[in-house]
């Protein structure tokens, strides 16, 4: 009777990871298989709600029969694959990626970085002293690239962009993983407010003509902040609390509830510290929003804190 809704029968595929058999549904990635096998694989540009971009190269694994290492986050499994996750080649590759990123980008708010640096013996300091803050990263001269002097490590270091009350862009922490661009573009929001500007090491996430966010096509949904892996994008509430030294995730609770601003029913994860909402995220595995919200759901919580102790209007 009912027209069939799309349910495709899924077969299991078995591959070998570090010599052990692992079965995952066909169409899965090697990363999914690694997770199923309990292999802890570092990832940065991978996003569970986004199409793999293959940008960061930190999840590379060795695949038997393949001349080069393959990105585990995007390569699909096929029967009989043999994958190695901890060979010297893999370790060397991950070490290099972590060192290059670590030498040029501020990874201080990227989760698990110290652990990975240690695991892969990465030493970002061996590239020498880091260059200071650049005030001209948003200025692009076609055809010009100024090579460094070889004595300091080139960095993304630049002033934080604080141009509105909702979220902050600290591109010193940006690894150019494209997740924000994809979330703002065709994959979710379709606002196209941001893109990569420039080439090579001068590349930078930017609005059109590097306009401030309120003057750009940004609609302040915060769906870019939701997927940012390094804290380059952060909610103003979090940014301010970090600056004040009051941000303390060990004191925070996270509660899933439902947005009150329209009838769609997006799920909200309320992060609460000292009985105050300090940021709002959204569950990535929920069928309604897949981690996405609009400006009201993301930032419209402030009113609950504007009531006085008597429970009435201020």
């Amino acid at each position: 009777m009912n027209a069939p809704y799309p349910v495709t029968p899924v077969q299991q595929v078995t591959i070998k990871i570090d010599g052990e058999d692992v079965s995952v549904p066909e169409g899965s990635t090697i990363l999914t298989a690694c997770n199923a096998a309990g292999k802890d694989t570092p990832t940065l540009c991978y996003g569970d709600t986004l199409t793999p971009k293959n940008a960061c190269r930190v999840c590379m694994v060795e695949l038997k029969g393949s001349r080069v290492l393959v990105p585990s986050c995007s390569r699909k499994v096929s029967p009989g694959m043999e994958v190695m996750t901890d060979t010297e080649r893999v370790r060397h590759s991950r070490r290099l990626v972590l060192e290059l990123l670590g030498s040029s980008v501020d990874l201080s708010t990227t989760p698990r970085i110290p652990e990975w640096m240690q695991r892969y013996d990465a030493d970002p300091d061996r590239y020498g002293e880091r260059s200071g803050e650049s005030l001209t990263r948003d200025i692009h001269e076609p055809g010009e690239h100024h090579a460094g002097n070889g004595y300091v490590a080139a960095t993304m270091s630049q002033p934080d962009k604080i141009d509105n009350d909702l979220y902050v862009r600290d591109y010193s922490k940006c690894i150019l993983c494209y997740k924000c661009v994809d979330a703002c573009g065709t994959q979710w929001q379709n606002s196209f407010a941001i893109q990569i500007a420039g080439r090579g090491f001068d590349s930078q996430i930017s609005t059109e003509y590097a306009a401030e966010l309120p003057d750009s096509a940004c609609v302040f949904c915060g769906n870019c902040v939701e997927v940012c892996p390094t804290g380059a994008l952060s909610f103003k509430s979090e940014y301010d609390m970090r600056a004040a030294g009051t941000w303390d995730e060990s004191q925070q609770t996270e509660t899933t509830t439902v947005c009150t601003y329209c009838g769609v029913g997006c799920n909200l994860n309320l992060h609460v510290q000292d009985n105050k909402i300090v940021k709002v995220t959204s569950p990535h595995d929920h069928s309604i929003g897949h981690g996405n919200l609009c400006i009201k759901g993301r930032f419209g919580f402030v009113h609950v804190h504007s009531r006085s102790k008597e429970g009435s209007d201020s």
């Binding site: 009777m1 799309p6 609609v219 302040f220 439902v258 009838g263």
Partner: protein, 565 residues
């Protein structure tokens, strides 16, 4: 509800992604329901066609293949024109109409006068666009019509909905994956409130107060005798206040003094009552009329419970914050009031109350809190804990066996009826109201955060009307209707056709738009005609007494527009 026997959107959001055609009719979903629109965008990227039917060329129309800019209040006429074209082009889904519907002959007769030419003249939509929509909708494998308050906030809102249902019946675009009728609810729990019986004629689970069997079930559960009398709709209550029958009012979580049409009249009514109780999270303007104010918790983050969304998904609401001061949970307030009335209701958790509801509402019977938590909500009907979910409704209409098909869906023959507030020489312009992306209802909640994209209060005018009135962007005008008059700065909006004005309803403290609107209510839903007010606009030198929230983005917009001009 009248057509299919259940008041709910027929489809899941996920289905929109698989649709071949989406019609947004009286819906600016891109701004008003942004995350539903994400699902539509998936379909658009897969090649789905989109039609926007809206007096305004709004953000949703930017994503549409075609925009049908109809005159406000001509939706019934346009739907007839489309229906007639489908019939005359031989594009009717004959088998579905024959097996699943009644009243087709009457519907054909009602369509007959609405030729493309007549419809075009009445609605202002070019005939070829009407024809194109009719053909594309009828030929699509999977098509949805999505609507919002642009359809319902009319004196004949129910007729408008009926007209859209007719089109779905005519083409068989209902009861199948990807085809359906999708009312996008304006508020978080409009669906749930109705499902729980917050409709004058209903008990929880769409059970009828007038039906003795239904009543008996609740009477047994609660050990009471229930009056077999329907309650009053909001508009009937307003009328009863005028007549003096209704003298006491208990308002929970509403701000009618600012949100209802003809706000001045609402305020006067509240002043004349014997006793007004307001239960809210804020001291709203309505609360200033109250004898007693009961501070309550913010339901979505300070209490436990459920909301039901536009795809009939019941979802758990959880407490993340301790409420401030003496604010109490709505459940607790009710219990305490019952106690004062001499009824010793037990202290119950939200889950216990939900289980009580499950016991008497078959549609919700299978939805335990455990399953709701595990599955990220469940869509009704879900009678059995082990049963399948119901992503779409009315699949039964496609059954071969007449018995399984059940009650057939009737075509309706609503009458086309122009807005009550007529245009004339004195009030020649049409004002319509709505919501912008960054704001919500009377702004009690959304006013709390500093949005960089908030325009603030203003009146949108077409460039043509601005030229005719000799006003520039940012200049003040006086907008008057037959009921009231307000001052507002002008914002230029090329998406408006000459003669059409738009105002957001979100800044009543600055510009009380509902001082202008008319309390012309739909006889069935009781919804007022917010979308169609006759006004005049005059240039003025008057200086308003307020400045906050006024059109803050003005300077920026001017710069953007400059090169194009």
């Amino acid at each position: 509800m009248h057509v299919f026997g259940a008041g709910g959107g027929t489809s899941s959001y996920r289905e929109a992604e698989d649709a071949d055609l989406l019609v947004f009719w009286g819906s600016n979903a891109r701004e008003a329901h942004p995350i539903f629109f994400h699902h539509a965008l998936k379909a658009i990227h897969k090649g789905a066609k989109v039609y926007a039917v809206d007096p305004r060329r709004a953000k949703t129309a930017e994503w549409a293949d075609a925009w049908l800019g109809l005159d406000v209040g001509t939706d019934v006429a346009l739907a007839y024109g489309i229906g007639r074209e489908i019939i005359h082009a031989g594009l009717v889904n004959e088998a579905f109409v024959a097996n699943a519907t009644t009243g087709f002959e009457e519907y054909i007769a009602a369509c007959e006068p609405w030729t493309l030419e007549v419809t075009s003249r009445e609605t202002g939509v070019p005939a070829d666009l009407i024809r194109q929509l009719a053909h594309d909708y009828a030929k699509a494998e999977r098509a949805q019509i999505c609507w919002t308050l642009g359809i319902t906030e009319h004196h004949n809102g129910t007729d408008n909905v009926r007209s859209l249902c007719n089109l779905a019946l005519l083409t068989g675009h209902v009861g199948r994956w990807g085809s359906g009728l999708v009312p996008l609810r304006g508020q978080n729990n409009v669906q749930g409130g109705g499902d729980m019986g917050a409709i004058p004629k209903n008990l929880p689970g769409f059970q009828d107060v007038g039906n003795a069997d239904h009543r008996a079930k609740f009477e047994r559960l609660w050990n009471v005798t229930m009056p077999p009398k329907y309650g009053m709709t909001l508009s009937e209550m307003m009328h009863a206040m005028d007549e003096g029958h209704l003298t006491n009012l208990y308002i929970i979580g509403e701000n009618p003094v600012q949100s209802d049409a003809d706000s001045n009249a609402v305020g006067k009514r509240l002043e004349n009552l014997d006793h007004v109780v307001v239960q809210d999270i804020f001291l709203t303007k309505t609360a200033s009329y109250a004898d007693v104010v009961l501070p309550s918790t913010a339901a979505w983050c300070e209490s436990e419970g459920t909301f039901t969304n536009s795809e009939r998904r019941v979802q758990l609401v959880r407490k993340a914050l301790e409420p401030p001061g003496s604010a109490k949970d709505d459940i607790e307030i009710m219990r305490l009031i019952a106690e004062r009335l001499g009824r010793g209701w037990p202290e119950q958790t939200a889950e216990q109350i939900w289980d009580e509801l499950r016991a008497v509402s078959p549609r919700h019977h299978g939805m335990s809190y455990r399953l709701l938590a595990e599955r990220g909500g469940l869509q009704w009907p879900f009678p059995d804990e082990n049963g399948p979910e119901s992503p779409f409704l009315h699949g039964r209409l496609w059954e071969k066996d007449p018995e399984k098909r059940g009650q057939l869906a009737p075509f309706g023959t609503p009458k086309h009826s122009l807005p009550v507030d007529k245009l004339d020489d004195e009030f020649p312009l049409r004002l319509t109201t709505g919501r912008r992306l960054t704001d919500y209802n009377t702004g009690v909640q959304s006013g709390g955060f500093n949005s960089p994209i908030r325009f603030g209060a203003c009146v949108d005018l077409s460039p043509e009307d601005m030229a005719r009135l000799d006003v520039n962007e940012g200049e003040w005008v006086r907008i008057s209707s037959r009921r009231g008059s307000v001052l507002a700065p002008v914002r230029r909006e090329p998406g408006l056709r000459p003669g059409l004005l738009f105002m957001a309803c979100n800044f009543p403290d600055e510009v009380d738009v509902n001082a202008l609107t008319i309390e012309a209510n739909d006889p069935i839903s009781g919804t007022a005609e917010f979308k169609a007010t006759a006004v005049k606009v005059e240039k003025t030198n008057e200086v308003p007494t307020w400045e906050r929230n006024v059109f803050t983005k003005l300077g920026r917009e001017k710069q953007e527009l400059a090169p194009a001009e």
